[in-house]
Symmetry: C2
Subunit: 128 residues, 2 copies
């Protein structure tokens, strides 16, 4: 893995501390990217996030937020009101991810059609 990437800028990471894995593995889980893109817009309360992503379970929302917080990408602020409310916002580190991630999302939107077309062509080919 990383030992193979010295073609561009790897400096000898082992598999275990490969930075690509650290980041990509996280974006890979089903919800992280989505939650991040919502927080790019602005801070949000738990319930707002929940309603913004209709098909996420409460369990997964909590877990995703915890993971993002653990990685220092988002911050969690508890208001001891009654009933309590919790607000999530982007940390400076999280904000620095906004540019690269949005570039990728923009690519996804732009090339969405091409991907779906390629997929359809491929699937049709092996049906024949």
């Amino acid at each position: 893995m990383c030992e193979a990437m010295d073609g561009w800028r790897d400096q000898g990471f082992t598999s275990a501390d490969c930075p690509v894995r650290d980041v990509v593995d996280h974006l890979g889980d089903k919800w992280s990217t989505l939650i991040l893109s919502l927080l790019f817009i602005g801070s949000k309360r738990f319930g707002v996030l929940r309603r913004s992503v209709p098909d996420i379970s409460q369990r997964m929302l909590t877990q995703t937020l915890r993971d993002l917080q653990r990685d220092g990408l988002i911050e969690r602020q508890v208001f001891p009101t009654k009933p309590p409310s919790v607000e999530y916002s982007l940390s400076p580190l999280g904000m620095s991810l906004q540019g690269p991630l949005n570039a990728l999302i923009a690519w996804a939107v732009d090339h969405h059609g091409a991907i779906r077309a390629a997929r359809a062509a491929y699937d049709q080919a092996d049906a024949a």
Copy 2:
């Protein structure tokens, strides 16, 4: 999910045809990003890829390559030599992904330390 993203440029995709999912879900699988980054450098034979990524199983390499091919990101060329050889290379679509993806990878490398530090701090906090 997608219905929540109109803050930036969504135009009303449903969950099913959400472009973010189409792309990110793929980058999320354990090997796609890594294989793509290798092919950014240049076309490679199956065996070369296998050796470049020591801890991938043959099964996963084949599967990953198939998925990328299905999405039209890479091309597969078989040389009917004896023994046969197969070469994989980036398609034009795949090349268009290089910029955004490398931006993300660069971010990962740059902020790798910060992430690991945040993670360590978080883990230490709940040990206390």
